[in-house]
Amino acid sequence: MSEETTRRDFLKMAWGVLGAVALAEAGGVALAFSQPRIAEGSFGSVITAGHVDEFPPGSVTPFNEGRFFLSRLPDGGFLALYRKCTHLGCAVPWDATAGEFICPCHSARFDPSGEVIDPPAPRPLDLFPITIEDGMVKVDTGTVIQREKFDPSQVVYA
């Protein structure tokens, strides 16, 4: 009895495994199909913010289409801060009078380098990578850089 059933059992199992793999592949196709497309339009691509000299040190310039703020620190270094609050995703506006980012949703506050001044934000504002070519500041809004804390290595200098 064992010899004959073993071969049939093996074939059954093999067929089952093959079927399971087919299902998994179909699932993979469905998932890949549903992947988000690279953003149509400005957000998600590289945005040219402007010439380095347009942004005086200590300034914070909003770019609504790119969903970020270009912050130039007093020492001249650039940070592109994603305006999405790291708590629950609200758009954080820049309050020039207070000199801080104050989130309207749950009152989280961030300083001009994106560091958390006031919870409930769990981490500093995310960054977009900056490249400076021929004095033009270019921000890649397709790549989000998360960080636990501010680090001088995150700043880009002209």
Binding site: S34, Q35, P36, G89, P120, V144
Partner: protein
């Protein structure tokens, strides 16, 4: 029976056509005809041909299961009507909703019906789940049906959530932003899952498309399949449980009666009353609509939909990973395991399983009503674990530590009930369930009414 007419006259054409479609007389006169109609009718054969008399008692089930199914059907009908006048793009979505108010005959009524039926459904299915729990109707052999019901609960919440975005107003846009950001807190796959759902990094046109597809096709189709399975299991598991008093012994041979007219009439009446009530409500209370969605300006405060506000409130007290992932997972896991852990009491059909069960439930409600606001206030104004334990990462100091403390508290309560209260394991677990349920309801109420600008605790009457 009288399929062929009398011997004198052959059947006319009209009669032949009618008889080909309707095989049984639609208004049966005797018992056998009533039994046969149930078995031979496409819709009615969901029911058994006979039901136990005692299970017909309205105050046993409150018709909640049937109400859930009715609301689902109403949502389907109104939803299909809305399909004809709505386009899921940011350019037209909002204006289509406005047009329902100004230019489409009964547009506002259909939208209101859809909105309020959707909200009512969450309440009704939750109450249905509670009824099943408190009457022990999830005990073997009905455990798997409990799981199917849990799946339906999650799908209902999902349907509500995906539909919430479709009007594309400020309320919708930011509620969905907040809720999908919660998903981002799941470790490892959170961001990927959030992006998949959103169709990108932020709520946008792709999100509207995705949610529309989920809301009108994926979720309804899945729900229909699982609902059919759920009803089928009800029949296979023996139909409704039989109610009895706390001191009655289990019923050995329950008295039965025909489904037609007793059950059918009951269902029809409850359905009509529910429809009338919903209709009147929808005629008077409009579904909310704020200004058009503005991605550049978040409102203050930004709140998720009301059924998520308990969760959003939790977020204010625990580390996000604990509040958004660990606690919901534990809760769902516990709910799923409940029927399999129910061992030592066979008191199916008794509300709260026993007299002592009732008292303990009442006690737990009281404890919950006192404890939850106290803890909320303490955490808001005094407790500051990250400051007291600065050497630990916030995940531990504001997440694991308070979670462990809460779990220890629950274990202590359980032990107290068992030792001092002499409760059975079943009754004690029920008491814990009630305590947590009360806590969650209080948190939801706090989240809805007591959180104002900046999500600070504010009294709504001020």
């Amino acid at each position: 029976m009288s399929q062929q007419g009398s011997d004198a006259q052959p059947m006319g054409l009209a009669q032949r056509i009618w008889r080909s479609a309707v095989r049984e007389p639609l208004f049966p006169r005797d018992r056998r005809a009533r039994l046969r109609l149930v078995m031979d009718n496409l819709i009615l054969h969901i029911h058994p041909s006979q039901v136990t008399v005692r299970s017909l008692q309205f105050t046993y089930t409150w018709g909640l299961g049937g109400l859930s199914a009715l609301l689902a059907m109403l949502l389907a009908v109104t939803g299909v009507m809305l399909l004809f006048v709505y386009t899921p793009t940011p350019e037209s979505a909002y204006n289509d909703i406005v047009a329902m108010r100004t230019d489409i005959w009964f547009g506002q009524l259909v939208r209101n019906l859809h909105h309020w039926a959707g909200n009512a459904m969450i309440l009704v299915v939750a109450l249905h789940m509670l009824r099943v729990f408190f009457t022990g109707a999830f005990r073997p052999p009905r455990e798997f049906n409990w799981l199917l019901g849990l799946a339906l609960l999650l799908l209902t919440v999902g349907a509500n959530f995906t539909g919430y975005l479709l009007p594309w107003d400020q309320l919708a846009f930011w509620a969905v932003t907040v809720a999908t950001s919660l998903i981002g807190y799941i470790p490892l796959i959170g961001d990927w899952l959030g992006n998949l759902l959103l169709g990108g990094a932020e709520v946008g046109a792709a999100t509207l498309r995705n949610f529309y597809a989920l809301h009108i096709a994926v979720i309804p189709a899945t729900m229909m399949v699982i609902m059919a399975y759920h009803f089928w299991r009800v029949r296979k598991d023996g139909g409704l449980t039989i109610p009895r008093g706390a001191d009655e012994p289990p019923v050995k041979k329950a008295e039965r009666t025909t489904t037609i007219p007793n059950l059918v009439l009951m269902e029809l009446t409850v359905a009509l009353v529910a429809i009338a009530a919903l209709l009147l409500w929808a005629m008077v209370v409009p579904a909310p609509l704020e200004g058009i969605a503005d991605p550049d300006h978040a409102p203050n405060p930004a709140k998720a939909a009301w059924y998520f506000l308990g969760l959003q409130e939790l977020l204010l007290h625990f580390h996000p990973v604990v509040a958004a992932l660990v606690i919901p997972t534990l809760a769902l896991g516990a709910l799923a395991l409940l029927p399999y852990l129910d061992a030592d009491m066979d008191s199916v059909g008794i509300w709260f399983r026993s007299r002592r069960g009732r008292w303990l439930a009442l006690l737990s409600v009281a404890v919950g009503l006192v404890l939850t606001p106290t803890l909320v206030l303490l955490d808001e104004y005094w407790i500051n674990l990250p400051a007291w334990l600065p050497s630990l990462p916030t995940l531990v100091s504001n997440g694991i530590v308070p979670l462990a403390a809460s779990l220890l508290g629950l274990i202590a309560y359980y032990t107290l009930l068992r030792r001092v209260g002499k409760a059975t394991a079943c009754e004690a677990k029920q008491a814990i369930f009630v305590l947590l349920l009360t806590g969650f309801v209080v948190l939801t109420v706090v989240g809805i009414f007591f959180r104002g600008e900046g999500m600070a605790l504010t009294a709504p009457w001020l």
